[in-house]
């Protein structure tokens, strides 16, 4: 489908979203609560057939943000799901790895560096921090300085 059709398809799910931003013609950001993230990922991967790129995890002071980036290669559009994880004490979100094996590593990495829990992840073992890195120290969190 072309960009116009893509925009139409995406606007149909606006009721699930907190916000719909389009900073450029081919750059779209759809924000949602973290509970809706799995369904939106499923929508992009299975319905729209976009390609998963990566997940960016951000410590945004009063919450965590998980940005699920997708590329719709037919038009070159980058679509990002911005999921807000409000619980800072026990941040949890449903893992998308059972849906998309491609997400396995990045969810493990986010678990290591940001301390996000991914429910139902098949293999949430340490990935990128050293064996002797202290538990509970999440280098990408704001409170951790070198």
């Amino acid at each position: 489908m072309n960009q116009e059709e893509l925009n139409n398809r995406l606007s149909k799910i606006k009721d699930k979203l907190l916000a719909f931003e389009q900073p450029l013609d081919d750059r779209i950001i759809i924000s949602c609560e973290s509970e809706k993230a799995y369904a939106l990922n499923q929508f992009l991967f299975e319905d729209i057939r976009a390609r998963f790129v990566i997940i960016t995890g951000i410590d945004a002071d009063d919450c965590f943000e998980l940005l699920y980036h997708y590329s719709y290669d037919q038009t070159g559009c980058v679509i990002t799901i911005k999921a807000i994880v409000r619980d800072r004490q026990q941040p949890q979100v449903e893992s998308i790895t059972p849906l998309l094996p491609a997400a396995e590593w990045i969810e493990r990495e986010l678990h290591d560096v940001l301390g996000i829990g991914f429910k139902n992840h098949p293999n949430l073992k340490r990935l990128i921090l050293a064996d002797d890195w202290p538990e509970g120290v999440y280098p990408l969190r704001k409170e951790v300085k070198k």
Partner: protein, 405 residues
């Protein structure tokens, strides 16, 4: 007195692991078939994303070009494109062409590097020596243009740091003619050699479905019939202004990926020639005073696949958040799909076909259920080469020998 070695050691290639410690990739076997893979990253983790937050926007390209030495033109370009989107600036036309030329020259020497490695893994060391010899002129050209053989440091927010002087253009064209001749010769030899066919075809197949589930990119995807290429799908630099083809093959095996890379090298030469011809006059950079608050998403097609950078700015002079994703991050996990069910002799080749940063390739070992290493990298390499020798013996001596190039 030097100790004699108790194992044959190949005098080429530094692909030697540590024998007695945890490796990157641990394979489990059932007989001679791979049944499972476990991966441990961490050795190369330097925490680049956090370091970015301590640097100013125009210092970050120097950091990210050192994420991976052989994709060192694409990482800063993806980052810079993200920042230019936030700032709403477009670099001058000449800069777009210079970026294209340098990125394609990098693709040429990266693919030739891969061809050499592939040859090494199957026992065609002459191909290894040959391919690495013909990479050198490309590195010399890059040094003349940018001042360094690698880590060119040529990209900045708003354009390029160094111009391509018009006087050097004939020299580049002449070198390209040479490289094209050799690449064509090699491509023909690979497509004609029955041993290469027998050794690479059907090996390490990544199905089209797995290619989509693992979201792979680059030649790994294009070799499985997923015809995606950022230069075509979301054109950047000058790619929309030149005439070239996306190369894809449907079979998904190592042979398909080798063909994709060889033909892409020829396409790259085409692109550079056109870009040099059309190189517009004018400056190669504009000044960008500040980056407003916003978010930018930049992606480029590295030799290994899509490099993606996300940048968030709050109006200050440092990025608030910078996410860098190299193509190998999605390509290497697909090794699980293409390797399970394979014979152990094909394991080094299957991993190499994904073209990870090559020091990942040296961290490969087979372990038993107690995690004790039973086949280290050298042993795996030997198995691969022995398989080639067996195939050779079965097929008899072919008329054209790739090793004799």
């Amino acid at each position: 007195m030097k100790k004699t070695l108790n194992k044959p050691v190949l005098a080429v290639g530094p692909f030697h692991p540590l024998q007695e410690e945890m490796e990157y990739y641990q394979l489990t076997l059932d007989g001679e078939i791979v049944t499972d893979i476990d991966v441990r990253l961490s050795y190369n983790h330097r925490g680049v994303e956090r370091i970015s937050e301590t640097l100013q926007f125009d210092q970050v390209p120097f950091l990210v070009s050192r994420i991976c030495g052989i994709c060192s033109a694409t990482h800063p370009l993806a980052y810079v494109q993200a920042v230019e989107d936030i700032a709403g600036v477009t670099p001058p036309e000449r800069a777009l062409y210079v970026r294209t030329i340098i990125n394609e020259l990098e693709r040429i020497h990266s693919h030739l590097l891969w061809v050499g490695l592939g040859g090494h893994f199957i026992g065609y060391d002459t191909v290894f020596m040959w391919a690495w010899k013909y990479r050198e002129p490309v590195l010399d050209l890059l040094e003349e243009i940018t001042g360094n053989r690698n880590n060119y440091g040529n990209v900045k927010v708003g354009g390029c740091r160094e111009n391509i002087q018009n006087e050097i253009v004939p020299k580049i064209l002449k070198e390209l003619d040479e490289i094209e001749k050799k690449t064509e010769m090699l491509t023909k030899a690979v497509l004609d050699d029955p041993i290469i066919h027998a050794r690479l075809k059907g090996v390490g197949i990544l199905s089209n479905k797995d290619a989509l589930n693992y979201a792979v990119t680059g030649p790994t995807a294009r070799g499985s019939g997923v015809a995606i290429d950022v230069r075509h799908d979301d054109p950047y630099a000058a790619y929309a202004d030149v005439d070239w083809n996306v190369i894809a093959q449907p079979e998904g095996d190592v042979f398909a990926k080798a063909v994709v890379r060889l033909l892409e090298t020829l396409e790259s030469i085409k692109i550079v020639r056109q870009a040099l011809k059309k190189l517009p006059d004018g400056p190669v950079s504009i000044e960008v005073k500040e980056i407003p608050p916003g978010e930018g998403f930049g992606h480029t097609e590295a030799p290994r696949g899509e490099t993606f950078h996300y940048v968030r700015s709050d109006g200050g002079n440092r990025p608030v958040r910078h996410k860098a994703r190299a193509p190998s991050y999605v390509n290497v996990p697909s090794f699980k799909a293409s390797c399970i069910g394979q014979h152990v002799a094909d394991v080094t080749l299957t991993l190499a076909a994904v073209d990870p940063c090559y020091s990942c390739t040296e961290r490969l070992a087979v372990v038993d259920s107690q995690s004790k290493v039973i086949l280290d990298y050298d042993a795996l390499l030997k198995l691969s080469r022995e398989k080639t020798a067996r195939i050779k013996a079965e097929l008899g001596a072919p008329e054209f020998k790739l090793e004799d190039i």
